[in-house]
């Protein structure tokens, strides 16, 4: 979560509100709680599912009046973006949607785990090559090979920066 400081979360929400021409209003008490929760999680290298839990809990606090769900779902999707690139498009979309639904509280941990378990073999078998044109990330690629197989669904290590 090191790549996602709390300021980035605020910026994401502001950007989304700006597009909709709405004020990026917040619920100050909830915002403070969400920030505390977030900042506690940022320095640690969390397994992917725990990172989603942080997004889910932060979403639950409803710190943002507008785009609360989109903000945290966007973070969740982006955290897993590199892994998504290694999946076939349909499976990637399934995972994206599942993550978004989990973060927004529409499905439970069990459903998320089921989908992750179902897609797990694909993560392992697919090479890290990105079929979608993306900005070159040499640091990502060099480190992508280094994590042991025991953490296939862990947060990308490079995000600890």
């Amino acid at each position: 979560m090191a790549a996602v400081p709390w300021d980035s979360v605020l910026t994401i929400n502001k950007a989304l509100c700006q597009v909709q021409k709405t004020e990026p209003l917040t619920n100050p008490k909830a915002l403070e709680k969400a920030q505390r929760l977030w900042e506690k999680a940022v320095p640690s290298s969390l397994p992917l599912i725990d990172a989603f839990d942080v997004c889910r809990e932060a979403h639950e606090l409803s710190a943002f009046l507008f785009n609360n769900g989109n903000t945290f779902a966007a973070v969740g999707h982006t955290v897993v973006e590199r892994q998504l690139r290694s999946l076939p498009p349909l499976e990637a979309q399934i995972l994206r949607t599942t993550i978004g639904h989990y973060i927004c509280g529409l499905i439970g941990r069990r459903e998320l785990q089921q989908v992750l378990r179902h897609l797990d073999p694909l993560f392992k078998s697919e090479p890290a090559a990105a079929p979608i044109p993306a900005p070159p990330e040499p640091a990502h690629q060099s480190q992508a090979a280094s994590p042991p197989a025991s953490v296939p669904l862990g947060l990308p290590r490079e995000q600890r920066a």
């Binding site: 400081p5 903000t71 973070v75 900005p135 995000q159 920066a161």
Partner: protein, 60 residues
């Protein structure tokens, strides 16, 4: 505010993703958004009803 390149890259990607989610929400009618809006409306209606309703007095 300066972010390290990695955080900056993440931020750009997340904003892009958020915008895509927003567009999908609009295109799809925003199932969650619509649901929560409906709930809010129902809550407001219920609270208004409570505030305006008076105990009925019978003539008899």
């Amino acid at each position: 505010m300066t972010l390290d390149p990695e955080a900056d890259r993440f931020l750009r990607a997340a904003v892009k993703t958020g915008l895509r989610l927003q567009r999908n929400e609009i295109a799809g009618g925003g199932s969650k958004g619509a649901g929560s809006n409906l709930q809010t409306l129902q809550r407001i209606k219920a609270s208004l009803r409570k505030r305006t309703s008076k105990p009925k007095t019978t003539c008899d």
